[in-house]
């Protein structure tokens, strides 16, 4: 959540209006959505409960969860208006997220 807040906070009103941020996780709860709406951050939280989509993207960390379950690898992808990947970052260490500045630069370069 903190990284999403960081990202949203750095985009200007106009930029936020012009970009859709879609957050994919196996279990986003209504709490996340309400929090984002309360902060007027304009995120769509979508649920990939069985990790089918995450798997198709090759972003599953097998057995990486606290109970040994499969979890997503943290990743950020910037798509242009034609739906083409222009930049992406996949984390190699679950403590580390893509630098919000890098994401911002990628979005502004579209």
């Amino acid at each position: 959540m903190a990284e999403l807040q960081g990202l949203g906070a750095q985009l200007s009103e106009a930029e936020r209006a012009g970009v859709e941020i879609v957050a994919v996780s196996p279990d986003p709860n209504e709490h996340s959505q309400k929090l984002a709406e309360g902060l007027r951050l304009g995120y769509r939280f979508v649920a990939d409960r069985d990790l089918a989509v995450t798997r198709r993207y090759g972003l599953v960390h097998a057995g990486g969860g606290p109970d040994g379950q499969d979890v997503p690898r943290p990743a950020t992808v910037v798509l242009d208006r034609d739906g083409v990947v222009r930049w992406f970052s996949v984390s190699r260490n679950f403590q580390v997220r893509p630098d919000p500045d890098d994401v911002l630069r990628a979005v502004r370069a579209l």
Binding site: A2, A23, V46, Y57, P72, A75, R97
Partner: protein
């Protein structure tokens, strides 16, 4: 010239302080994204403790204690950061210049969100995350 005792205290302060700072400031992106910082600080603490041991004259145990503590934090911190926290490289299907797989997934209200629906309308930032911290 710092005494052995003071070096021992300084060493422990640096090593423990670094790990405490990481834990407390973990929501700050620049801290979280550079976990090697606490490893470097623990290495510094270990070096200071080693210096304390060398300089110890009368009471040696504080220096040895500090060295033991700093080494433990260094090994533990390095193990966590470089081994436990590592995500094995898996081949992602993402390629710059290509379209990623399309999908339709439900949002928090149950409404379907389709990636292809944004084509021709808006750029999209897709964030895959674990759903819990």
């Amino acid at each position: 010239m710092m005494t052995s005792g003071r070096l021992a205290v300084l060493s422990s302060g640096v090593a423990i302080g670094a790990i405490a700072a990481y834990a407390l400031l973990i929501r700050v992106a620049i801290v979280r994204n550079h976990p090697e910082g606490y490893v470097i600080a623990a290495a510094l603490g270990t070096a200071l403790a080693a210096l304390a041991v060398v300089r110890a004259r009368v009471r040696r145990w504080p220096a040895w204690l500090a060295l033991g503590l700093a080494s433990l934090l260094l090994v533990g911190g390095a193990w966590f950061n470089f081994v436990l926290a590592r995500i094995p490289d898996t081949p992602t299907t993402l390629r710059v210049g290509e379209r990623p797989p399309d999908f339709t997934l439900p949002d928090a209200a149950g409404r379907p969100v389709s990636l292809a629906g944004y084509r021709g309308k808006k750029p999209v930032v897709l964030v895959f995350y674990r759903g819990y911290w």
